[in-house]
């Protein structure tokens, strides 16, 4: 089965398509001539931008009225496929709604899923997705064996987003079928956690703290340093689990993937879970008191020392520069 027709699970935020969506569209159009976007929400306002990155069609469910995306989007996709509009491959973002939709659809189609990928290739009839394992030291490539549509999800920043300057995508309204009791969950309120400064996954400099900070109040050093460098503060899973900072700060396999110019890891030992999220940084500085810490194996500049001594001096030195 050659791959001619690809769908991308597309998402918008603040009226624009997410960068993640544009990355997946760019990859999709390098694999097939026919690329469509599926938007669980209002796709009309995104049609111009989605077209610019290679989608010729955008399926739009319109407002979901508080229903959770996974159930609604998978049911709408299944209805399209049953109606004969069948893609060979669907690319999903590895995030909350992408994962939910992918999982529900896999049961409806009785198709396997390949998740956490950083690459995908098509070789005649064979579709192979690649995921990094063991902290990214090993690349594990898996081929789909069943019939399509093949379902795969990807980590953010796996591909560079590049416009093809195509015309606005044609909007196709799709209905969400009745999902019965599976659709019983409803969103009753939405909370946006305000943050100042650059976003963690877009910042040019990221300063992350870990367990080596000792206690939660010392995270203030990380925030102060990040602010001085016009960067974003991040965190290891250990201190997120410990409740020092919200989950939105987490860098790693289960958190955000960051690729800044400079990544500063303060008091982070470098668990596999964390390394997966930051190894793609251009330059890495690590400060840790254990000289055997795995983080030093990936650091361009490693300081074996006490973060409680090094960070305050670094902050003073930067302040002195004005």
């Amino acid at each position: 089965m050659a791959v001619n027709n690809i769908w991308v699970f597309a998402q918008g935020a603040n009226g624009a398509a997410t960068t993640f969506t544009l990355e997946l569209l760019t990859k999709a159009r390098s694999l097939a001539s026919n690329v469509s976007a599926f938007v669980a929400g209002d796709g009309t306002s995104l049609a111009g931008e989605l077209g610019k990155y290679g989608a010729t069609k955008v399926y739009s469910t319109g407002d979901l009225g508080g229903r959770l995306v996974g159930v609604a989007a998978s049911a709408a996709m299944k209805a399209l496929i049953d109606g004969g509009d069948k893609p060979d491959l669907i690319l999903f973002p590895q995030n909350y709604d992408g994962r939910d939709t992918l999982a529900r659809l896999s049961v409806k189609l009785n198709s396997t899923v390949l998740t956490n990928n950083i690459d995908i290739s098509v070789n005649g009839d064979e579709v192979v997705a690649t995921t990094p394992i063991f902290g990214g030291n090993v690349l594990f490539a898996t081929a789909f064996t069943g019939a399509g549509p093949h379902l795969a999800s990807f980590r953010p920043k796996s591909f560079a987003a590049e416009p093809s300057n195509g015309a606005a995508a044609q909007v196709v309204a799709v209905a969400v079928p009745d999902t019965g009791v599976t659709g019983a969950a409803k969103v009753t309120a939405v909370h946006v956690e305000e943050s100042t400064g650059p976003k963690l996954d877009e910042a040019n400099i990221v300063v992350s703290g870990g367990r080596g900070l000792g206690e939660s109040k010392n995270y203030g050093l990380v925030e102060e340093l990040a602010k001085l460098l016009h960067g974003a503060p991040g965190a290891s899973r250990a201190i997120v689990d410990a409740g020092w900072v919200p989950y939105s700060y987490q860098v790693g396999q289960t958190g955000k993937v960051v690729k800044p110019s400079v990544y500063i890891a303060a008091g982070i030992s470098g668990a596999t879970q964390h390394m997966v999220g930051m190894k793609g940084s251009k330059n890495i500085i690590a400060i840790n008191k254990d000289k055997e810490a795995p983080i030093f194996a990936v650091a361009d500049l490693g300081i074996v020392g006490d973060v409680h001594k090094v960070l305050p001096k670094l902050i003073e030195a930067l302040k002195a520069r004005g």
């Binding site: 409806k108 899923v113 064996t145 069943g146 019965g180 009791v181 939405v190 939105s248 990936v298 001594k309």
Partner: protein
Amino acid sequence: MKGMKIVVCVKQIPDPATPGSLDTSTHALKRDGKLILDDSDAYGVEMALQLAASAGGGEVSIVSMAPNGEMSGMRTALAMGAVRGVLVSDPALAGSDALTTAKVLAGAVQKIGMPDLVIAATESTDGYTGTVPEQLAEVLGLPSVTFAKKVKIEGAAVKIERQTESGYDEVECPLPVLVSVTAGVVEPRYPSFKGIMDAKKKEIVTVTAADLGVSPVGWSGAGQKVSSVTQAEARKAGQVIEDDGEAHAKIVAFLENLKVI
């Protein structure tokens, strides 16, 4: 809601503190040593025990799947306070994909009897496909709320704070429902000595995939095959220095050199 029935899905994994390795012939993750309860699942077990207690009494059961009859991780969950377990163990299950796993777990849940609440972690620590909870909900025909960071039962419904890209949503859903909980959602208890002793007497029913009527399973049911396993390009380590009290100056110089300050 008195007498609430809760089932928690737990996975038994190799100790994450020891480096993982792949079987040289099948390329599957080696899981032949002693297995422990996945830390991610300890949160689910704890959440279930707290919800049952706050509901004025209830019953927490656990389900797990393992190819080799391993139970030690399940015993940990029983020692924490779960009352019984169903283990689906079958050599044929080796190599099963996430979808097959979800079908098998659905069979195990139904064997216990459809509960009011199914709890799972958002993903396992060793395989982290991250789709099993939502797939399980679909197989069971249940609604689901994934990535819950707060869970409350009110009457015959759950009220949940669900993580989003930009913050969190408040979500309500009538029971029965499947909920996947994030790490850190509650503080898992350590099993007491009495709990550990009691756990040895608690029942773990072992069944095969065939007993549950799930087929095909394992490699043949997986819909995927290993294509290649290669070493990634290693990132080179740079300079590592001991702090002599002046290391901060090295960092400043490094940043200056990159022209970011």
